[in-house]
Symmetry: C2
Subunit: 348 residues, 2 copies
Amino acid sequence: MASEVGVVIHNKQVILKDYVIGSPKESDMFVTTGTIQLKLPHGSNGVLVKTLYLSCDPYMRGRMKKPLLPSFVPPFEPGKPLSGYGVAKVLDSTHPEYKEGDLVWGTTGWEEYSLIVAPVVLFKIEHTDVPLSYYTGILGMPGVTAYAGFFEICSPKKGEYVYVSAASGAVGQLVGQLAKSAGCYVVGSAGSKEKVDLLKNKFGFDEAFNYKEEPDLDAALKRYFPEGIDIYFENVGGKMLDAVLLNMRIHGRISVCGMISQYNIENPEGVHNLMMIIGKRVRMEGFVAGDYYHMYTKYLELVIPLIKEGKIIYIEDIAEGLESAPGALVGIFSGRNVGKQLVVVARE
Amino acid sequence: MASEVGVVIHNKQVILKDYVIGSPKESDMFVTTGTIQLKLPHGSNGVLVKTLYLSCDPYMRGRMKKPLLPSFVPPFEPGKPLSGYGVAKVLDSTHPEYKEGDLVWGTTGWEEYSLIVAPVVLFKIEHTDVPLSYYTGILGMPGVTAYAGFFEICSPKKGEYVYVSAASGAVGQLVGQLAKSAGCYVVGSAGSKEKVDLLKNKFGFDEAFNYKEEPDLDAALKRYFPEGIDIYFENVGGKMLDAVLLNMRIHGRISVCGMISQYNIENPEGVHNLMMIIGKRVRMEGFVAGDYYHMYTKYLELVIPLIKEGKIIYIEDIAEGLESAPGALVGIFSGRNVGKQLVVVARE
């Protein structure tokens, strides 16, 4: 790479056209070619990286909105490349913690090469005997999300009844497997027969159902949880949450990871059954993975052996090339992806 | 009392006519005179009490409904006397823990004399140098509710911003004073100028407002909490909760005690801003006082000295006579009461 340093080269980028209202479309973004100087400014404190994999995550929808309220992540800037989690290779560094050749995962631009100034979330990748792309999923932010959201927020006990929505997604598939490893009874829901089959036959959920084929979600949950739900891992919100609230057990816990059914609606649906949390003493707690990154090393020590032994399976939906990134991102909001959606920008 | 034992006497009772739909009315109940034998059946395990004070509590609305779902408290039975918390004097007992002459508080019938079989919640009153009626409020279930709901669920820290709705009620007035004693900044809302004055001038809230005069609750909360809310003690639900969710701070806590604005509605209003709890990492937790009765003695040790020293004030709204009980109970759902609503059935 040394020969490239200082050279100005082409840099393909995914640009957000404007703030998005309603369901995002591929045409809300475009791919263009800019340029980038492959050398960091003198006196800077950053890293220059080559993007390998980009992660498509539901929380990114919030960043496409015109900000009405201050948010925990800043919005994207129209006319600029999107940013998000990714896996990358360091080409140049003026930051003491990173050096040329390091593999990293963390926040990067949706572009072939990215200049990361004062990196906040950027982990050096130490284990390379697992698929590198896993650092967008099971070994990255979604992994910490599943781990912390299940163990830290829900304090599961053996034998408890666990329900996971969006259960074949980047986080859900892992929550289900972690819950099984904790001795829980686990049911997942997803939006297609293919996904339901994965839940039952690949990920080892005890039961699974296609929510699109259930006109009465309350009845469906009563069928799968005749004793009620101890733990709900919430990924979808709206009507599903309302049905779950009717089926929670006393002292149940709801880990609120996301509400993807609401992200493309300007006026979120009302949740009507919140009163249930009083008599049932339910705890609902929102969280973000970033609060738990101090547990990342501990999590890796747990999960990497499980991956290597084949005790945890992780399914990815891989789009090829930066040009496919807008479509891949848009797809997760209609459930087009099967498993963790990511984009390969370059393989090395 | 010995002379009365075994005698059959008249017993005035408040009877529920039928399950109630919508706002309860006085005419949903009627007062009648039955009879009762002032002696416990041989071999029974109960107490026979003379009712002194009856407590009017919002949760009782749920017991007037035809049960669609199993509830944490059983519904009232149409044609039978209501039941609820009260203060009473033991006239006869076949239960080893109670004897004739004991003063008790706990679950009793809405009648002059009541036979309590296998008492579950019935505390002997040990401290009688405070008003006996306080055992329907600050020294009874509402007291434990405020104490546990604030300290156990919210884990307050000095300097935090606390908001209490229905703040002049049986629980709210106490939560505000406990929060002040914990070094918090406390704002309360209520439904009349008189109540707002009480909050500011009697209970020592830092600020208070009349929610009925605020067309935009979000704007009102932003005015009183420019830095946001750390702790919300939830008594009302509905639109207020939606406005609060927009104003919670990161890692805020919502103690869900009740949602009185929703109790008379067949289809509860939707809460639209629940997504806020994700980015703000908010914990919402429902609870019932009954789970914390093991802390009752500890609570009394804290609160009785504060009452005697005048450091905690407790305002009661006292209705005279069992005949006034239906009106007193109905009144709490429209906020007619000022402070803890109770009914004097007899003074000794």
